[in-house]
Subunit: 180 residues, 2 copies
Amino acid sequence: MQTMIEEHSRPAQNALLQTLQHVGEAKTIVQQIFEMIGHSRFFSDFTREDVEQLAAFMQVYRANTGEMIIREGEVDDYLILIIEGRVEISKSDSQGESHPMTAVGPGATLGEMSMIDGEPRFANCVALEPTTFAVLSRDNMVRIIIEEPALGSKILIKLVTLLSQRLRATSSNLLHFLEN
Amino acid sequence: MQTMIEEHSRPAQNALLQTLQHVGEAKTIVQQIFEMIGHSRFFSDFTREDVEQLAAFMQVYRANTGEMIIREGEVDDYLILIIEGRVEISKSDSQGESHPMTAVGPGATLGEMSMIDGEPRFANCVALEPTTFAVLSRDNMVRIIIEEPALGSKILIKLVTLLSQRLRATSSNLLHFLEN
């Protein structure tokens, strides 16, 4: 396990992203991101100024139906925010068979764990329809923490809240199996 | 769910803490905390100055063998850092029967989820032997973020890393049950 700051000097290659269409810098779609806020738990208390600051650190990509955005087991370090479209999350079993777990749409964030801890991806994320998404790399997350500490704290608080809720939900599910 | 900052004006009562022995302010045991750093993943890259700053926001308590430090279902908002002793984490089943899950010692942190999201406690934490621990309330975490933003970011990064690792471990366990 590496900490965010240590990792700063060795950015991941993020090779999978290079297979997808790069649309441009997220600062060109601030208005679209801002309008999406109503659908996004992640951004629920971000001001217009917060979104503008954050967008300056994000890049926008597009994936066609069936294209993979995140591949299980791969080492890369970005978080994605879905702007438009729909993404299926699936997990491979020990026979390599893929099992869909859930699907998410605009406003959802994916890939936080690897952005944070640098460990391999936990699941596959595949576009179910043409999907536009903004990418935040760990390098840029570190830059935000250093260059825009107030925004950095706000994002980190969002991340701890999100992870805490997922951990509660997952732990409850696990206990259900352990008890029965 | 409430966010950390919103909750600032309505501190939890933290009633259970009031039943335990209050030893004093953590700044009196900075040296002990600093020496413990070697055992603690949480503090692994904290400098002496970081620990001094953080300790100014923490209070130290002591629990005797068998005393409860955190009670499942209760609403309170502190995280604890074990300084000395040993704590059992257990979870009650639907019949109210308590099932031990694990036990942890010096350097471990407990209670992060409720400190972060303000939701009821997920499990019980009971002292297995006389235990000394430092307490960080959500109110003081918010103060650190506002008053000492660099330290605040460092703690938040630790929290996201810790939660991310627990979520990976718990999700893997859950998948094991789902697949079999």
